[in-house]
């Protein structure tokens, strides 16, 4: 007993000798990652009261019907009805916005975020779902070899949405028989190609695009799609499927 007390005494002296200040030691840590689930209605909470006006404003805007889709448009490879719709709209709008004679348009596959644009009314919100990213529509000046690089990338991927004005086939993940405006690639020509700035700046494994001259339309792709659908509606038309084949897989 005496020995125990003396040890405690010595330890105490040592402790005081070392430092008079107490120390907070991190002894251990415990963790659980909690799932945030809506188990009940929280309609009365201050947070809900704060969010509600924003949500209402957003939904009012999103629920605005801007057009009518005549048939389901689906996302897919190598060609798809949704891919044709989006890329053809990018082509016509890029030409209109820039005044440049754009040869064709492309859209990276991963940039389309819904698998189906259903038949029926098309709301603004649906196009936000289709294209949530704030990517800008740009037009890139490309030489024949640049076009080949791009088509090879698309071929390697198994097909991206590409517009009218360009066709090629895919064989062994390479692009062949590339035709622009119905003609084989001309080594002396500069092609004008519309695409998201994301791809034009080298994104989605397109480093060969970096440094090519660009013309910026200044418009988000989503905005361009909304404007395109509004124009179709203003002309008294519906969204119609253009089934032309752009990519052939061998």
């Amino acid at each position: 007993m005496i020995r125990v007390i003396s040890i405690i005494a010595i330890l105490s002296v040592l402790a005081v000798g070392q430092s008079c200040k107490s120390v907070q030691h991190l002894a251990t840590a415990d963790n659980v990652n909690l799932k945030v689930e809506d188990h009940q209605s929280y309609g009365d909470s201050p947070m809900e009261a704060m969010v509600r006006p924003y949500r209402d404003e957003l939904q009012a805007e999103m629920n605005v019907v801007i057009g009518y889709n005549a048939a389901d448009l689906s996302k897919g490879k190598v060609n798809s009805s949704m891919g044709n719709f989006v890329s053809d709209l990018l082509l016509s709008e890029a030409t209109k916005l820039s005044g440049i004679a754009v040869d064709f348009a492309i859209q990276n596959y991963g940039g389309l975020r819904i698998v189906k644009l259903p038949k029926g009314d098309v709301t603004k919100g649906k196009l936000f779902e289709l294209m949530p990213f704030d990517n800008l529509l740009v037009i890139v000046e490309m030489k024949a070899q640049d076009v080949r690089n791009l088509c090879n990338r698309i071929a390697d991927y198994g097909g991206w949405p590409i517009s009218e004005g360009v066709t090629f086939n895919i064989s062994d993940a390479m692009a062949g028989d590339i035709m622009v405006g119905g003609e084989p690639l001309d080594e002396s020509r500069i092609y004008q190609v519309a695409m998201p700035d994301y791809v034009a700046n080298g994104g989605d494994a397109c480093p060969f695009m970096i440094g090519l001259p660009q013309t910026d339309t200044g418009q988000y792709i989503r905005h361009v799609l909304i404007a395109g659908v509004e124009e179709i509606t203003a002309q008294g038309n519906q969204i119609e499927h253009n089934p032309s084949i752009r990519i052939t897989k061998k």
């Binding site: 120390v23 991190l26 002894a27 963790n31 945030v36 689930e37 929280y42 924003y54 949500r55 936000f128």
Partner: protein, 305 residues
């Protein structure tokens, strides 16, 4: 401060990292134990409402109303709670496209976030777009490896933050990912990315030694781990010292449980990440032993695999 009984009760709530038998409870008999509860999110990406009921695997999960309720409940149960975010607050739902990040900042302020760091998507409205929303944020942003001297961010990012809760000095700092290739230059003009390891060590040393913090917490947007030879939270943990905890983001990593890594000196570093979209709220409870010894005997018992 808690009695030993309360301490054990508190420890019993979640799965212990240490088996109860291994834990040196006797060491706590003469010291006082303080528990600090850290709550954290990352990559919430403008997910103000829960995921839509569209048959997707996350349907009905997340949302600021549910998260606020959960945080409120934990605050009512625990004495010392801190709340933080590891970046990518912006972008992902039309709330961001329409309101430019205003509602995200207002929600975080309403939940009383203590501190956050910036992710690459927080540049999506440009530097000015981010700065514009700062008036809606009542909490500070920490960032140690972006030099922003010549930008409008300089007034809004600080090197570190110290919070004193329950007698514990908690030091926070933030790390951002390389912006080149992720963020268009026009949106982050003038921001200079610096080596996160070097800057983390600098600020961690300051917090531990000069500022006498009892615990140093890194809010990181570097990403949890990569197959490539890129800096990540796992690399950061291994190659530094004086960091106790890394709360990460960017890779949208769902960890079943917080990981324990060895730092440069073989000491434990805890690393956690809470998925994305506000689906998870990460919770880490830290227990501090208060004594007059320079060394902490019980800390040696921290498990390092």
């Amino acid at each position: 401060m808690q009695s030993r009984r309360n301490f054990m009760k508190a420890m019993g709530k979640g799965g212990l990292l240490l088996g109860v038998n291994q834990f040196p409870f006797h060491l706590f008999d003469r010291g006082e134990v303080t528990k600090i509860t850290l709550l954290h999110t990352n990559d919430v990406h403008s997910r103000v409402d829960p995921f839509p009921m569209d048959g997707g695997r996350n349907q009905g999960l997340g949302g600021v109303v549910s998260r606020a309720k959960l945080i409120e409940q934990i605050r009512s149960e625990e004495e010392h709670v801190l709340l933080m975010d590891s970046g990518d607050i912006f972008q992902g739902t039309p709330y961001f496209n329409f309101f430019g990040g205003e509602i995200e900042m207002k929600c975080m302020s309403e939940m009383s976030y203590d501190v956050a760091t910036m992710g690459n998507h927080d540049f999506d409205a440009g530097i000015d777009g981010f700065v514009k929303q700062m008036k809606h944020a009542n909490f500070p942003f920490v960032m140690s490896n972006y030099r922003v001297d010549d930008t409008a961010l300089s007034e809004h990012l600080q090197d570190y933050l110290i919070k004193e809760v329950g007698g514990i000095r908690v030091g926070f700092f933030g790390l951002g990912i390389k912006l080149d290739g992720l963020v268009p230059e026009s949106l982050c003009k003038g921001v200079i990315y610096q080596d996160p390891i070097v800057q983390a060590q600098r600020v961690a040393n300051t917090l531990k030694h000069d500022e006498k913090c009892d615990v140093v917490i890194c809010l990181s947007h570097l990403g949890y781990r990569y197959d490539e030879d890129w800096v990540s939270d796992v690399v950061l943990a291994r190659e530094t010292e004086n960091i106790d905890l890394i709360l990460g983001g960017h890779t949208h990593t769902f960890l079943k449980a917080m990981q324990t890594k060895k730092n440069k000196k073989g000491e434990a570093v805890f690393v956690n990440q809470a998925g994305f979209g506000g689906i998870l709220l990460g919770r880490v409870d830290l227990y501090f032993e208060n004594n007059k010894k320079a060394k902490c005997q019980s800390c040696k018992n921290l498990l390092v695999k």
